[in-house]
């Protein structure tokens, strides 16, 4: 067979490229640090009850607001519950709500972004105006409004956060789709009279998955941010859960009296989790956007 094999170059194979990405991730100290932190909290969320020295829900009115000690590493709160135990099991609520909400927002946002970017014209114009309207109000306030209107519960929390993230993700995906749409392979598809669904989901979607993945991890960080904030305001995860934001909601008034331990440790827990997720997102972005 007379072929152009002589032009074949030893360019990296697809699998090699994937392995190269993994290798880069393994050599990124920030990514690894993020991975360790997030893995720790995921473990706490899954089996936290088995790891803790005290019952996180049991009040002990005899040892209220005790400072950290050998018995209570992080001290006790205003009704004598062990702060350490509550911090460990508190990972569960937020690590249920935030990923599910992000997933919801990513799926919905990606679909809307694909449709707006692919059809452009009036469809795009209308969708983007609605997106703009949502983005004119901060996520926390939209979330608050939605939760007051629907009544707070874990399900509505997931729904509301997923919903307010949808426009943000839609906008990112739309921008990526608009860039893809200018590529000639999309015209080649039109010359075969492919239908819109095939073009959007089979031709274009695989090419925007990189940005979608990065966006997912970035949004996950903000979903944790939003969940914690709404819980702190009292509209998110409801009592008697050991949620960090909710704990802070109950305890932060003691801060002015100098009682810092029931407040500091849940706050640090939130901070480490969001920073961990952010480091993961940063590592992925470094690898995918190079």
């Amino acid at each position: 067979m007379a072929t152009a094999i002589d032009e074949l170059v030893a360019l990296p194979a697809r699998q090699v490229a994937r392995r190269e990405r993994l290798r880069l991730l393994w050599h990124s100290p920030t990514f690894l640090l993020g991975l360790v932190v997030v893995a720790f909290w995921v473990l706490c969320a899954l089996v936290g009850r088995l790891l803790v020295p005290h019952d996180p829900y049991l009040p002990d009115l005899l040892s209220r607001l005790k400072p950290p000690s050998a018995a209570h590493w992080f001290g006790t709160d205003d009704i004598g519950r062990d702060v350490f135990s509550r911090v460990i099991v508190g990972a569960r609520g937020i690590l249920t709500v935030a990923p599910l909400a992000t997933l919801l927002g990513t799926v919905a946002g990606t679909s809307i972004g694909l449709v707006a970017g692919y059809f452009r014209g009036i469809v795009d114009e209308v969708l983007m105006r609605v997106v703009d309207a949502f983005l004119a109000v901060p996520v926390v306030i939209t979330g608050m409004l939605g939760l007051v209107a629907l009544g707070p519960s874990t399900a509505t929390l997931i729904l509301v956060i997923g919903f307010v993230f949808t426009p943000l993700i839609a906008r990112t995906v739309r921008a990526a789709v608009l860039a893809e749409r200018e590529m000639e392979y999309v015209q080649a598809g039109r010359l075969r009279k492919e239908n819109a669904l095939y073009m959007m989901f089979v031709e274009i979607l695989p090419n925007v998955l990189g940005p979608v993945l990065v966006e997912f991890t970035v949004r996950l960080g903000y979903a944790i941010f939003a969940t914690a904030t709404l819980s702190f305001l009292g509209f998110g995860i409801q009592p008697p859960a050991a949620d960090w934001g909710l704990n802070l909601h109950d305890q932060y008034i003691y801060l002015t009296g100098g009682l810092w331990w029931p407040v500091l440790f849940p706050a640090l827990a939130i901070a480490t989790l969001v920073v961990g997720v952010n480091l993961l997102a940063d590592g992925l972005a470094q690898v995918y956007e190079r």
Binding site: V9, E184, E194
Partner: protein, 702 residues
Amino acid sequence: MDSSKASNAGIARSVPPASVGEVRDSVLEVDDFRLAFQVRGRDRNAIRGVSFSVGRNDSYGLVGESGCGKSTVALAIVKYLPRNAHIQSGAIRVNGADVFQMGNAELRRLRATTVSMVYQNPGAALNPAIRVGDQVAETFRVSGSHRAEALARARAMLVKVQISDPDGVMRRYPHQLSGGMQQRVVIAMALAHNPALLILDEPTTGLDATVEAEVLDLIVALRKEFGISILLISHNLGLVARMCRRIGVLYAGRLVEEGSSDAVLSDPRHPYTVGLLRAVPRWGTSKSHGLLDTIPGLPPAIGANIPGCVFADRCGLVQDICQQQEPQLFELDGGRTSRCFFHEKAHLLPTVEAGPKIASRALAVGAPLVRVEHLSKTFRQDGHPVKGVVDVSLSIRPGEALGLVGESGSGKTTLARVLLGLTPPDAGATIDIEGKALRPQISDRPDDQIRALQMVFQNPGGSLNRRHSVRRIIGRALTRLIGLAGRAREQRILELAQSVRLDRALLDLWPVQLSGGLKQRVAIARAFAGEPRLVIADEPTSALDVSVQAAILNLLVKLQADKGVTYLFISHDLGVVRYLSDRIAVLYLGRLMEVGDAETVFQGPHHPYTEALLSAAPILKGETRERIRLHGEIPNASAPPSGCVFHTRCPRFIGDICVKEEPPLAEQEPGHFIRCHHPIEELRRMQRPAPAPATVPGEPSR
């Protein structure tokens, strides 16, 4: 012009013997320069030893394909290199001073006064946020002029680069100027301090042919006036040969051959140069003269470890010694050098594509395949109508290749998109294919018409989905267009792959793993999947290097001979169009200006615009004809000139009639249509080859 001056003197003139090492009074000396880029802690060789020098008042051209390191050499001369660049050895001396040893202050002085540069993309080279006048004046303020003086000198400089409205241009921002104007401004800045050396890095790539010719003339004129040495860097051998006295051929970061322009072009002494010259269609030749020669394989990647000759892997004359030992620099007669053990017999390089001559299969008589009548396309731009295509009527004969030629804004791509149904035409147009009406929107077209019209795109990277394998890309076209599935489809994929000379092993790869030429083969296979009647190829080779372009042109020619398909071939490169096309149509501002057999259109008499286009093309071999130059810019399609749209730039302008009345596209000879008020005999008389002395060497004729 230097090349013509050289041709007067012949090869014997090559004085002084400018061999490397001992050059008297040279402005620039590059001495065994080697550079690597550090990628993840490892040095990847990019420049593997380059030596050359540019004498005072001399012109030197550096030629090479993409990735050969020519721009890196240029930027190294002013020591403006990326942070990961690592100079391994060698020296670059400007007026005797080593650039790499210079401190910051010295380097700034070098850049400000001694070496200046003109870049490929003038639009990006100018700061979008600063007025043109201030940007030019800044070059004078560097040397200490105060503001008013700097502005006055800037204005004088703009006059020097033949900007007719210097005050207006000074006040404007770069984005308000056309590409040709922007490049003049960059040239004005470059010449501000009367530098000893002017580096031109692909200065006209991206400009339209007629504008390019004007800019090149300007450079030649200024060079004479200022007495500057130039280093011209380009991928275009013809351009370099026309502009420079000496040429160096760069390949994989190595200078493989050097000598005077005539000598290198007429008697190349390195197999790479030989191959490169053979890969370009000779001016005026067509596919009936035989296939083009190609260079097999690809240049070595940056960082590749090459013990022997850099070209050994692709060379038809390769011997064992070439793989093992690096050829030394052979100094030849007439101050030439070559890095080839077999430089004596370089011209014996065997041809790769020995094939039968291809005769045109176009049927001159009989029903046309595609008939277009009164096709116009109006866009709306900021609420104003802009006519992209105006009343085009055209027939494409079955089995022919129709070449569509025109500069930016000519409407050639719009015409293709209308035919393909991607953009609907204005009401009143009729398009037939095989006698049946073609619906304006692709979504309304029946399957057989979808199959009949396919396209090969300009950018092979973008036209293939990078997340689909080659097999899937070709297979999907087969499924959609002719409903194949399973084994039948697999069988057909293999056949198609073979017909475009694509190894079956490549079918499982993804586009990122293929070179540009291979990607274009995949795109061609896809276009041919549904046995199309008409394939529209929009600049299919303009993103490719010369050697790869030849292989793709050959493939298109062979496919046409095998399958009897019809081509509509769009290109700005007249040589390529002439090579591939049986007939040529010339568009200007959306109007057909001339249609005729390729040979007739080339030979003339032609439309004055075609005449100017042909005259502007940089060609390899000098020829004695009068140079026609167009002045001014291509008018904007939203406000086309009255009467004949070409009258504002026409070198054969008659008078009132051209301004007031649009001439018809008249059949002035059998099969040869020209839209001009001049009768064809008048054009013939005016366009007769001028007697040789009419071209004053080195003077752009006006």
